[in-house]
């Protein structure tokens, strides 16, 4: 058992180191970055802010990790957020009970996932094309729902999802932690994780081994749609209004980035939801750090891109072999061949 924990730590090491470095840099530019205070029944501080602001991308990254593990990609999650937020806001504005609005929004998220899953698994479209359809059309659907305006509402229960507190933390933090825990436990306690990885590595061989590839591929898009729905509810609740044009705009790209920074290969296969979540927090820490540093806003995106290039370069295989090359005498871990060392030293 300790071996497995050690192996997991080793897998997460690059992400944890990157997060630590980014947080340390934030501590340098803003000396009270690590301060936490308790007020009004919850914690306040920049760290809490990172967890809170990072909620949408963290939620999207959970579903995106599973989709990418099957060698797919889901570009539609930003648009799905907008649709689900619009559906919830319009129902609440109509005076429907909050529970109805929430269930409807989650149902619409599942429907979006089902649509993507149908295109990818049944019609066998390339995932990038299949999900591009909803990415483009989704904004239009959301505008139809909001009838072209920013649909505002005043329901304290709904607003609580975006700006309330639960257990001393902002509600969005609890929400993404809960979704991550549920999905993580289901995926790793069942055989879902293994089967999803098998599909991502070799779909043909998996199908021939009797793996229900269609069902599983549809499932991961369903999870992605559901995660996007929760993220959409949070951003809508946060501003107390559904903005069809801007809710979740470009967040699919941040989510993909979070997964990639988390070390899951876009070629599918081995995945780690935890690593993707750390990736999401790295991205949010960079965002927060740049804001706190007070750089002119026009530099923000460039600095962010620079830091991400650095993180990805650290993980790159090319740099890995360079690192192995720079290390002194590559020695074989088996003690069987000590006589070879002088040959190696050459």
């Amino acid at each position: 058992m300790p071996d497995m924990i050690l192996a997991r730590l080793k897998r997460l090491a690059p992400q944890l180191i990157a997060l630590a470095l980014v947080l340390a840099a934030n501590g340098l530019v803003s000396p009270n970055f690590f301060d936490l205070t308790w007020a009004n029944g919850r914690l306040y501080g920049s760290l809490i802010d990172v967890l809170n602001r990072g909620a949408p991308v963290a939620l999207l990254a959970i579903g995106m990790t599973l989709v990418i593990a099957t060698k797919g990609i889901d570009l539609s999650v930003g648009a799905t957020m907008a649709i689900c937020g619009a559906v919830a806001a319009s129902l609440v504005a109509e005076g429907q009970p909050l529970a109805v609005a929430l269930v409807a929004a989650l149902g619409v998220g599942l429907l979006c996932g089902l649509w993507n899953g149908f295109l990818v698994a049944i019609l066998q479209l390339q995932p990038i094309v299949a999900t591009l359809i909803l990415m483009v059309a989704g904004r239009g659907i959301a505008q139809l729902v909001t009838e072209g305006v920013i649909l505002t509402f005043n329901d304290p229960g709904f607003a609580f999802l975006g700006s309330g507190n639960l257990l001393g933390l902002p509600t969005p933090v609890i929400l993404w932690l809960a979704v991550a825990l549920i999905v993580g436990v289901i995926v790793r306690r069942s055989a879902l994780g293994l089967l999803v990885e098998a599909i991502g590595v070799n779909r043909r061989a998996s199908a021939l081994a009797g793996v229900k590839t269609r069902f599983l591929v549809i499932s991961v898009y369903l999870v992605s749609g559901l995660c996007a729905a929760v993220a959409g509810l949070i951003v809508t609740a946060d501003i107390r209004g559904a903005d069809a044009n801007n809710a979740g705009l470009w967040l699919e790209l941040d989510a993909i980035l979070a997964v990639v920074v988390g070390g899951t290969s876009l070629l599918g296969g081995r995945f780690s939801i935890l690593a993707s979540l750390i990736g999401a927090m790295i991205i949010q820490s960079i965002n927060t750090g740049i804001l706190l540093a007070g750089f002119p806003p026009e530099f923000n995106l460039i600095i962010k891109a620079g830091i991400i290039v650095a993180i990805l370069a650290l993980q790159s295989p090319a740099l890995g072999s360079l690192w192995a090359f720079l290390r002194p005498a590559p020695r074989s871990p088996t003690p069987a061949a000590p006589d070879k060392k002088e040959l190696v030293a050459r």
Partner: protein, 522 residues
């Protein structure tokens, strides 16, 4: 001895000499202190079981891997190829088993990819490229249209185009990694003509193959590796088949020991699986086939005769559009691998790398995959049980792996094949379909797989085995179905079932209306 252009500095020194080569992966030694030498105008066959280190050695010589220890000298001068391109420019070219060319480009573009001739203005000079390509191919006796897409030609032609490119780029040493694995006899002869011509031109040629007949047909010298160490290097004239196999296996192997087992064994009367009028348009004509409990039925035929199609249809990997399937006296519908697995069917496909292994997953995960898929995602196999199953089959089938959690891609071909077999045996099947189970694996693993087939038959499993190794097929099968032109053309059993009868059945002209003949000796 020397070719057309004798190199200046190197009289006396061998063309290529590698000494003390060692290489380890993840602490597992793949090569230990291997010496190898190649002379000008010589064909050297590099032999060994799977996992003996042939591929590793070749990849070191051609720059794909860096060596841990040792040195390589080309014409007496030390070299350290850092990449395949580097090795190419030094003069060492490679042609792999799977042709590494681009079927969607023209022959000429493939030959000159990355070094296309240009006009004075810097544009690609297509006309000159075509002309050069035609001249180059003519040297190999190929008169094909260099402007046509490479993919439209047979694998043999593609192989020769690959050789032409490699020789044109490199010109001193040519490494051929299993060049004949997917060629028929005529194509192999064509390829060997090219090899002999290059030999006359003074190239040093390294050839890796599993076909011993071909070794004796083409090689001048044989170098044998075993478990990553050099066993020896001998002139072919000093060797006979038995001594060569003995070198490879490191033990005495009686060559023609395959006795008839399947045909003599009592086969239970009632069939387990019966196909009636089973077929798929454009793939395989409707056929009838019964397979009894504890019976092995063989399928023989040329490549493209419908062998693989029959196997895939039987497993539901392709959907039948006519006929019925009766299992255990009940009509069942097998329309997908899932439904086949539910009936206790299992299928080891021919293309191990594409359809078999899940490369990045561990040996353990590969072994439990089919069992887990059958249980469904909601009922995970507990880890302890996974480990127990994996360890049991690793031991029972002698799967050589450093650890059960090593990604399966690091195993040799024969061990991967055994792991795929383990995957299916773990599901406790009653009907096992094997498509070319011994293809591309070495002599030792060959014998083990055949022993396993006989074990499984003795345990009451029904097997359908597609194989082009006719000697083996008649040894373990009780009947052999012969396919030609996507039809079952004959079914042989008893004394009528022997390799020459099978070949005669394949070669016989087939009238389309004529029903399949049955030949059973009294």
């Amino acid at each position: 001895m020397t070719g057309a252009a004798p190199p200046p500095a190197a009289t006396g020194a061998p063309l290529l000499e590698a000494t003390g080569i060692s290489k380890a992966f993840f602490g597992v030694a793949a090569l230990t202190d291997v010496d190898v030498r190649i002379e000008r105008g010589e064909v050297m066959a590099l032999l060994g079981e799977n996992g003996a280190g042939k591929s590793t050695l070749v990849k070191i010589l051609t720059g794909a891997y860096r060596l841990d220890a040792g040195s390589i000298r080309l014409e007496g001068a030390p070299i350290e190829p850092r990449s395949v391109a580097d090795a190419q420019s030094l003069g060492i070219g490679t042609v792999y088993q799977e042709v590494n060319l681009l079927p969607n480009l023209s022959v000429a573009e493939n030959l000159y990819l990355g070094r296309q001739p240009r006009t004075r203005l810097g544009f690609l000079d297509g006309r000159r490229m075509q002309r050069d390509a035609r001249a180059l191919l003519a040297r190999y006796g190929l008169s094909i249209d260099p402007g046509a897409l490479l993919g439209t030609y047979s694998v043999a032609v593609q192989q020769i185009v690959a050789i032409a490119r490699a020789v044109d780029l490199s010109g001193k040493i040519l490494v051929l990694d299993e060049p004949t694995a997917s060629l028929d006899a005529r194509e192999t002869a064509m390829l060997f003509d090219v090899v002999r011509q290059l030999k006359r031109e003074g190239l040093g040629i390294v050839i890796i193959t599993h076909f011993l007949d071909q070794v004796f047909a083409i090689a001048d010298r044989v170098t044998v590796l075993r478990n990553g160490r050099l066993v020896g290097s001998k002139a072919i004239a000093e060797l006979d088949r038995l001594s060569l196999i003995t070198m490879m296996l490191g033990r005495e192997l009686k060559e023609e020991t395959l006795g008839r087992s399947g045909s003599e064994a009592a086969v239970s009367a009632e069939p387990l699986v019966s196909f009636r009028g089973y077929g798929k348009r454009g793939s395989i004509e409707p056929f009838d086939l019964d397979i009894g409990r504890g019976e092995v039925v063989g399928i023989a035929g040329l490549l493209g005769s419908g062998r693989t199609e029959t196997a895939r249809l039987a497993f539901g990997a392709d959907k039948a559009d006519s006929g019925t399937l009766i299992v255990d006296d009940q009509a069942v519908s097998v329309t997908s691998p899932e439904t086949a697995v539910a009936q206790g069917f299992a299928f080891c496909p021919e293309e191990r790398k594409i359809d078999g292994i899940v490369a990045d997953l561990s040996v353990r995960e590969n072994i439990i995959l089919a069992l887990q898929a059958r249980r469904g995602w909601m009922k995970p196999l507990p880890r302890a049980e996974q480990i127990a199953i994996a360890d049991r089959y690793i031991k029972a089938l002698d799967i050589r792996t450093a650890h059960r959690d090593l990604p399966i891609k690091f195993l040799s071909g024969g061990n991967q094949q055994k792991a795929i077999l383990a995957r299916w045996l773990a599901t406790d099947p009653r009907f096992l379909i094997l498509d070319e189970p011994t293809r591309g694996i070495d002599v030792g693993a060959h014998a083990e797989i055949i022993r396993l087939i006989e074990d499984l038959r003795a345990r009451g499993l029904s097997l359908l085995v597609v194989s082009s190794e006719l000697e083996e097929l008649v040894a373990y099968a009780s009947r052999v179905v012969v396919l030609a032109d996507h039809r079952h053309v004959a079914e042989l059993s008893g004394e009528a079932m022997n390799p020459s009868a099978i070949m005669a059945a394949i070669a016989r002209p087939h009238g389309s209306a004529e029903p399949a003949t049955r030949e059973v000796a009294a």
